[in-house]
Structure formats: structure tokens, C-alpha cells
């Protein structure tokens, strides 16, 4: 199953992931970084399984991230 990996620690809170996929991301009011909703968390690395239909847009989001901390595998 395809998945999104988010290395959250390096997020600079630019807002683009939330703008592109508002249903999957939220900007945390607590620390200003993006949070991948419903993801499993391990040592500040967030992982979310997605379905095939979500892959293309997720890849575009990953590509738009200015610090390249979103991967779609």
C-alpha cells in the first residue's frame, strides 16, 4: 500500500501541504508545523497509508514542500 512519510521536525510551517490537501494536513497552532492527520508517529516521523487515488496529488504536495521532508512511497 502506498504511504506518505513526513519528517516533521524539519518542517518550517510554510502552509503549502495544507493548501494542497486540506483534508490530510493541519497547521498545528501549538508549534506552527504541519501535521499529517491520522498518521502513525514514531520519533517525530509521521507515516500514513493512502490509497492509489491519493498518490498523484500527494506526490505533487511532496514536490511542493520547500524543505523536501514529505515522501510518497
Amino acid at each position: 500500500m502506498p504511504r506518505i512519510i513526513h519528517y516533521r521536525g524539519k518542517c518550517i510551517g510554510c502552509n503549502i501541504c495544507y493548501e494542497m490537501q486540506a483534508d490530510m494536513w493541519r497547521m498545528s497552532k501549538k508549534d506552527g508545523k504541519a501535521t499529517l492527520l491520522k498518521a502513525k508517529v514514531k520519533k517525530d516521523i509521521y507515516m500514513l497509508e493512502i490509497n492509489n487515488e491519493q498518490v498523484e496529488l500527494s506526490k505533487r504536495t511532496a514536490n511542493a514542500c520547500p524543505v523536501k521532508i514529505i515522501k510518497v512511497l
Binding site: I12, G13, C14, S28, K29, G32, P66
Partner: protein, 415 residues
Amino acid sequence: MKKSILQLPELLSPVGSYESLQAAIQGGADSIYFGVEQLNMRAKSVNAFGVEDLEEISKICKENNIKCYLTLNTVIYDHDIQLAKKIIKEAKKQGVNSIIASDFAIIELCRKEGMPVHISTQANVSNLESVQFFSQAADVIVLARELTLKQVEQICGNIKRKKIKGVSGEKLKIEIFIHGALCMAVSGKCYMSLHTQNASANRGACTQNCRRPYKVTDLETNEELVIDNEYIMSPKDLCTIDILDLVVHTGADVLKIEGRGKSADYVYTVTKCYREALESIREGNYTKDKIARWTEELSTVYNRGFWEGYYLGRKLGEWTPDPGSIATTKKIYIGKSTKYYPKIQVAEFLVESGSIKKGDAIMIIGPKIGVVKEQLDELYVNGVVSNEAKKGDKITLPFKDKLSASDKVYKIVAN
């Protein structure tokens, strides 16, 4: 020198790591500036400090009798406010001297918290009216880097004449950049990185695409224009070591070195050269020979070639010949400290990469010791006198400070 200067301006150095903090202190800085988390103009820096570092940084600065300023100068969104509040609160608690801000949200949050504010160069303050406006909220204003020295002098002179005070009631201070990278655009108004790679320079994520070589092609004829330098958007670095007397004469109160993203040896060398130059100006022996020596020394660390920036009113065209640094020396990683013998004051290093010879110039960089340069007059390899050490060898050398595994040894070679 047109008139004698009794009080020298404050020398302000950039800090992006504990190594460079020590380097700034060793070099003779009066104050330092640094950023935490992602709300500063070096958000992409690998070794960025966190809120939890504020206590230690402030403590080190107090022990060394220097001031510390915290940069919080990106564009701010609504989702950043809580983090900004947390940073300002903690900075205030830990005794950070002021916050460097450009967004009105940060200026307002600082006011509520009773935290002193410096207006960042990101606000591009370029005239007296703006200075007066910001004096209602700040005690120090960093002018835009694109002004000429004459304009700086006029602003400083008018502040004195009109007795303009900062929000604290003290005389308003003016800060200007004296060394480091310059942008081809007015600071805070460049959107090139944002438009091409969605990486906003104004959120600290500049990809520096202005630093790359470009071709100019006529799309109608497909003809390529001949330009004498492909780096048509990458200015050389600002260096004022040869006009520092004129800089001091403007009456600017704080002189700032750029480079929070640069290494500790850069911070040490640049701070030291400007400290020496300022002292020479005070003593009245700021000579051409010394300027030549400082310029040579400044050339040994990261630089894109030097010019006096916009200060002398020269037109742009001082483009760098290279994508990166043209420093005359470079440092090569050799290894890390593995043991320290305090009684005999000897340090042991494991060579992890390359080789090192007797007579080599070395540099040890660490979070506690800062930057220490040595000449290897004698080389002990695995306990015996030798001429060369290779990967896997252990070398020992006399060293008066205690070292730990976070202290690294580098070889300095010509570039």
C-alpha cells in the same frame, strides 16, 4: 580620519551553533544574534537551535559579558503565533537582550511581553520617517543593506540632532551590516526562490537560485547573448574592512556581520579581523598594511569575492565569478577527539578520514572550545614520533583545554 572617535560601535556576530558562539566570543564580539526553531531567516540550517537552547545560550553570553539577540524575523502566519509567543516568553525569562523582528505581529507580541525589539533589515528601513515610525516600538533599527554610507550618515546625524529616542527612552540606535552575503534584491522583498521552487526566502527557506549561472537567450532568434559573466544575479560579498573608518564615521551604533549559516571558523576569523580593525581605528593606526593583512585573512574563509556593497554608491555589476565560495583555504575533516589526559594536557584524536603530516596547519572546532588553530610541529602517531598519520591511526598533541568527542580536528589546506 575626520574626527577622533571616543566610543567604538558595537560589533555583532552571527551564531548558528555552540561552536560559532564560542568562536564569536574568542574573536571579540560585543554581542551575538541567533535564531531558534523555524521562525528565523535560516530556518533551513541543519543545526538550528531550539527553544530549549535559550537558557544555555543566554547563560554563556552573560558569563562572557556579551549581549544576545534573538532573530524572529520571518513573515508570520496565524498558525505561528503560539510558537512565537512561546519563544518570546522564554527569551524574556532567560534574559535574552532583545528580539530582532520585522513582522508587526512579533513587534506587538514583544510589546505585550515587555521584550525589547530591534527592527530587522527585513523591514528595509531606508529613511528617517521610517526610523521615527519604528522608534515607537524599538530601540535599535537595522537599516536596509542597500543604502549608501552617506544616507546612513544622514540618518544617524538626524537622530542625534532631533534627539530621537527609542521606545525605552534611550537614544535610538542604528545598526548596519559590515560583512557577508548580499542579495541582488532588497532584503525581504525577493520572491525568486518562492516563485521558482515554492521555497520562500522570507520564511528562511531561500534556495539561492540567484547564485547560479544563467544564459540570456533571444527567444525570437534563439540567439544567445554574450555576457561577460554567467552569474548575472549573484553579487559578491560585502566587505568593509578597507572602508571601516568611513563606516565608523557614519555614527552607526552597531556593526553586524552576516552568516548564521556559516561555520565557526568563518565567525572567528571575520569577528577577529573586524575587532582588530576597530581597535586600530580607536588607536589611530588603521594602516594600509594592516588592511591588506586583514583582507588576506578574510579571503581564507567562505566568500564570493569582496566589494563594498552599495555603501559607496557603486552600481551593481560586482558579480561573483563562482557558484560558491572562492576562499583561499579550505578545511578537510580529519577526525574526532577520543581521549584527553588532563594531567599532562594531551589530547588524542582518531584519524577517520584522509591523512595528516608533520608541519600541517590544523584547526580544532568544538562546542566548548570554539575554534583553535595550531601548527603540527611535532606529530605523535600511535604513541611514537612520526611524519604522517593515516585513517585508523591515533594522534596525540599537547592541548590545554579538555576535549570531548564533539571536538573535531580539521586540516587547513590551500583551496
